[in-house]
Amino acid sequence: MLAEVGFIATFLAFGAALYAAVMAFYSVRQRDERRLLSARNAALATAPLMLVSLGALLSALLTEQYQIAYVWNVTDPNTPTFYRITALWGAQAGSLLFWSGLMSAFAFGAIALNWQAQRRLMPYVIAYTMLVLAAFLALSLFFENPFERYWIMPDDSVAKGVFALGGAVPPSAVRLAETANGLNPLLRHFGMIVHPPLLYMGFVGFIIPFAFAMAALASGDLSSNWIKATRRWTLLAWLSLSLGLVLGGRWAYDVLGWGGWWGWDPVENAAFLPWLLSTAFLHSVMIQEKRGMLKVWNMFLILGTFSAVIFGTFATRSGLVDSVHSFARSAIGFPLFFFWFAITAMSVGLLLWRWRRGELRDERRLHGWLSRETLFVLNNVIFVMLFIAIFWGSFGAPIFSELFMGTTITLGKDYFLQVTPPLFLALFILMGVAPLSAWGATTLLRLGKALIAPSLLAALVVLSLALLQPTEPLVLLIYGLIALSGTVALWETARGAAARHKRLGENWYTAFTALIARNRRRYGGYLIHLSIALLGIGALGSELYQQETQRTLAVGQSLELGGYVMRYDGFLGGQIAEDGRIMDIAQVTVLRDGREVARLRPRRDFYPNAEGMNTMTIPSAHSTLEGDFYVLLVDWEPISAQNATFKVFINPLINLIWWSSLLLILGTLIGMYPERRVALATATVEPSSQLAGAKA
């Protein structure tokens, strides 16, 4: 029953999306309000339909309907409820459906909230969102259907289909449950409940600014309207993608057991590429809003972001790249590639058409190298260069060499470690300098004066990092430049609050909150800069000063690393967890200066029922602001476990990476929070927003 309900709801959502797309385009041609209303209603209907569809699949997972092939593949009777829920996105077919569900929810929100204010863009927004949704639903219906069931054919062979084929009978429920596959052990991590949904929200969320940009190009309303309407959607998508990336790193750190968190793996890079373009976009739209410049560039960035999202989806889900993160090689590769090509060609075509007609001309020119707009342009160029460098390293070089050289050339981690650091450093320097420059023009002297106090603060950060561990002068300089991007943000906020305190006599708390409330975008942005600076320091410290050792210890013996002593206390073998896995756990005590600081339990999990990969090495770590003491259980003597071998890492400053994401969330939420009504009222008198539709 659940399979039928899910399949029919998905099919209806596909039909509604297709209908809405066609009808929306047609309504523009015919200038027919009734048809547009019909298109809108169909578009809005896709969200509840997808809710039913996802609800059916989730119910099937929770109620153990193993006749459904997807349920059989990702769960078994031992799977705890928690992982039954995460199994919804645990494999290709379910995660594709989940992706479409999120997309319909985003489309629902954007259409419902902007319907009145953006009437002129709406037909196209509906058309483009629904076109993309229909394409993804088609993949679910025709290539990766999560509602297919197993059937026993009259000749006793096993077949797959949503509905019973002629003479087919369902297999025995008991046998199905006995043979069910269970969730991939790699995905049994608490992070998997939030990492994929956040990453998908990030990917899918960019459909909204993409559709509005396409709508602006198609409708000819090339003012900043589309940017204003989508600013919060873009920030929401960007925040989700950022957190998805950080949590993905955390998952790798916790589960893959190699002591690192970012491996420059093609799939990680595929998710990072849209982040780079969208971050550039978030900066450059400010120039269009404030100075009427970079109109073509902004279009290019957001269309490029979405194109990168679809390309990344294709790369991850087609089996194109070899990676621990990728999905099964799948039949959706070619259709997804075709869709990516079509959507990219359509975007570029529309953009070129408007450009050639001269409708995207800038209203101002650049003035001086140090003006804020020039520095923003420079920041954008570097983001795009990073995009090119990482794309080339992950996909460009292998594809190019295969097409034109008859061999495959891949670029490893060393390529990325050689090419990207100077570009990242340039971005940090710009992050420090650009907020201090003024629109229009700034002199070097003024900029230099503004940099004095933040530089002193940055020097304090460098000093404390130098005291923490011996560091080379060049690295200290780089630490300083990264820190500067954060201290500028701190100093500027403090300066603003001090000015209010002095001028208006407000107490410090009021001065601070009122300052932020007056310009949430700016101070939210500063908080994000601060979080990225912390992340940068964490990434650099953990990459450059990681220490590692490995030793075999007898019970009672210790090893030393970086001022810590680790003692092997004992072993707990064959512990059975509630999901049926067998855990072999080493017990170790970590001491510093003779005092016990932590008791850790690195372990090896064995999944007796899992096909293929059935062991997982789970690290255990003692975390402080200073860094992690990270222990892997490598091996042990059978039965007695009198001796066990450990691999131990010290990852300095790594926790700054995870903790910085809290500031990132706070900063983005402040930036997204609606401005006060006064600000809104002034915004409406700006000529560019006086649209016929807005007034209607």
Binding site: D221, L411, V634, K647
Partner: protein, 177 residues
Amino acid sequence: MTQLAWEKPENVPVEASPQGIQWKYVIGLIVLFVGIGYLILQGTASGARYFISVDELLKGDYIGKTVRISGAVIGESIRYDPQNLIIDFTIANIPSETNDLARTLHEAVRDPKATRLAVHVRDQVKPDLLQNEAQAILTGKLGEDGIFYATEVLLKCPSRYHEIAPNQSIADPSIGK
């Protein structure tokens, strides 16, 4: 009123757009692009790894060059010294990757005629995925002694990347799994 929504707004200000190319910025951009382009080229030259099969590695002139190879892991050959973190195993040549990777790997391991290559890995914990019929993607150098010295090991376990279907046993409760 609603009809107005279709019309192009008339009061959008179209400022006289500044004309002419701002050469100093264009030149600045070109310098930047050339610099970064050089960085990318240099990185490519030093980071490029030929991705080849075991057969190609042994037939070509690759001794001492860093390459990336792909092969099927022969389970019984895996030897692991956890005290010194040394892994030795043998891989078999994979003729050409097909859509059914699991079958290709299975056949490569069982084929006595398939070219085999001994692999030596130092200072690495044995990966959980290193097992019979996994696909190994190894970066390293072929030594004069005919052993491949790998520095980077990436493993793909076909069952993880391919959907498994239940076998005939689900049709008949009397047959074991």
